[in-house]
């Protein structure tokens, strides 16, 4: 059964050092308040998987020293430009980088969703990405129907996945709307931690209309309320991204000193105010 926790630090406590942590993409329900709580816990040695890309959350975790390895199709602040702590860490070699491509990350999670050890994926052959993926395997069409060579992507099962949603009910059901990658992440993850704007009494399964937008509770490990929990990123139909705040981060984080000062101010000092 889903646990309903009193505060976000209790949720952050469920992320152990060294965990394979899955992060959703920038436009898709990123639990920034929870990410800040994880940073305050000073979690270490995370293997961060971006599904399939990420930006601010991943960059902050790297800058804060929580990350040992990043597996991604891309890390970017979008309109605010490159992700400065990510770039610096890869250039210096202070984090290990495992480059992937968007559909390969989706595919690896689909394999776990389906309970199979691998799934095939088209394309990729001839990309240098493949040369650095000893875990991926190229095989000749095993059905011998002249399809040619194809890449097999091994299943990935995140230890922990984290999302922020507008709404949950009291049975652990969580509203995900049309962001179905969150369903795949949830199906593939061993532990799913969810923050929500609001917990309502009425079941999200009470009507077909809301059920269609719902992740069932039996995938959800724990939930806590976190108002404005995606800020400074946006939450569709609830609040827009705060582009000024993201731009301010992008400029502060150009240097490690600038980032550390920003972190102290925005994550540690501002904690009580913010969360």
């Amino acid at each position: 059964m889903t646990n309903y926790l009193a505060d976000i630090d209790a949720l952050a406590a469920a992320v152990p050092d060294g965990a394979l942590l899955a992060l959703p993409p920038e436009y898709s329900f990123v639990p920034m308040a929870l990410v800040r709580a994880i940073i305050r816990r000073q979690v270490r040695d995370l293997h961060v998987l971006t599904v399939p890309i990420n930006g601010l959350a991943c960059d902050m975790l790297i800058g804060a020293g929580c990350v040992k390895t990043v597996e991604c199709a891309a890390v970017s602040l979008g309109e605010s430009g490159p992700a400065p702590r990510f770039s610096a860490a890869v250039e210096s070699g202070s984090v290990a980088i495992i480059d992937s491509t968007c559909p390969a990350i989706h595919t690896a999670l689909q394999a776990t969703e389906k309970g199979v050890p691998f799934m095939p994926l088209g394309g990729i052959i001839g990309s240098d990405i493949l040369n650095y993926r000893d875990d991926w395997k190229v095989v000749d069409d095993p059905l011998g129907q002249g399809h040619g060579r194809i890449v097999l992507i091994p299943a990935i099962s995140p230890d922990v996945a984290i999302i922020h949603s507008p709404l949950a009910d009291r049975d652990g059901n969580v509203w995900i709307g049309r962001r179905r990658e969150l369903a795949t992440i949830a199906h593939a993850a061993k532990t799913l931690l969810v923050t929500v704007e609001k917990i309502q009494d009425e079941s999200l399964l009470a009507s077909e209309a809301t059920a269609a937008a719902t992740l069932p509770g039996f995938y959800v490990t724990a939930i806590t309320e976190a108002r404005m929990g995606a800020k400074p990123l946006g939450l569709v139909e609830h609040y827009p991204a705060d582009h000024d705040a993201i731009a301010a981060y992008a400029s502060a984080a150009r240097s490690d000193e600038g980032f550390q000062a920003w972190l102290q101010r925005e994550v540690f000092t501002a904690r009580e105010a913010a969360e």
Binding site: S28, P52, I53, C72, T101, G123, I124, R179, R180
Partner: protein, 247 residues
């Protein structure tokens, strides 16, 4: 009628979308110029091609999560997609990862995104990179995010068809594994293109001039199409097209 560089690029791309084989154009995140070009082509052709802007609002049709655009491409349901690159070489190899020696590159960029799949599956990929310099157009990319051509035993219905920059439009010849210059931007010269391109490419006897934006298309861009652009790219529509949505 005067126009900006971005308006010129939008109309140059839109012309490449006005053919019968283009029924569905998909545009990735933060690509306002290709997005505007697709919306302009749709307006001119009375509703085709279908235009899908991921992260668009009314123009984002995807309801199956982040996977769907790749699945749809794999199903052959997307005819045109746009890709760029930190580096692009003469065989149309794309580098979106970084410059220098991988993995500890000198300068790291975001990453390959979906290029290693979309480049294989979308029949008409248009490479778009406004900056035309030897920094971008190199003899050989430092890292191949997605290769321009593939061996015969790799299933590949898709690949590069055109390259659009601020200086010129090129076509890619898969069999010759080379770009061919089609036309040069008005006021620019073949010499400029040669000076700023680090790879060899074919030059036809007569090099055309890329048409200037047609007055009627500029008018559409600055009015009805501009409003559609503003739905997804408000800042771009305001700054480049002078169009703002009513608050």
């Amino acid at each position: 009628m005067s126009y900006s560089r971005d308006e010129f690029l939008i109309t140059a791309i839109a012309r490449l979308l006005e053919t019968d084989d283009v029924r569905h154009v998909a545009v990735g995140a933060a690509s306002p110029i290709p997005g505007a070009a697709a919306l302009l082509a749709r307006k001119i052709n009375g509703g085709t091609p279908r235009v899908s802007l991921i992260h668009g609002k009314a123009t984002n049709p995807f309801c199956d999560g982040g996977r769907e655009i790749f699945d749809a491409a794999g199903q052959g349901r997307i005819d045109v997609f746009f890709l760029g690159g930190v580096q692009i070489d003469g065989e149309a190899n794309l580098n979106l990862v970084g410059t220098g020696t991988y993995p500890k590159v000198d300068k790291r960029f975001s990453g390959s995104f979906g290029s290693a799949f979309m480049y294989f599956t979308v029949p008409k990929v248009i490479l778009f990179r406004p900056e035309h310099s030897r920094r971008v157009f190199v003899p050989k990319v430092d890292f191949i995010s997605a290769p321009g051509v593939s061996d015969a035993d790799v299933h590949r219905p898709g690949g590069p068809k055109y390259l659009v920059t601020e200086l010129c439009v090129m076509a890619f010849d898969k069999d010759r594994r080379r770009f061919r210059l089609i036309s040069v931007t008005p006021g620019r010269t073949l010499e400029e293109v040669l000076d700023n391109t680090g790879f060899k490419f074919d030059i036809p006897e007569t090099v055309g001039v890329t048409p200037e934006p047609e007055a009627d298309r500029l008018a559409l861009l600055r009015s009805s199409v501009g409003l559609e652009v503003a739905d997804t790219y408000p800042a771009f529509a305001r700054d480049v097209l002078g169009v703002e949505l009513a608050a």
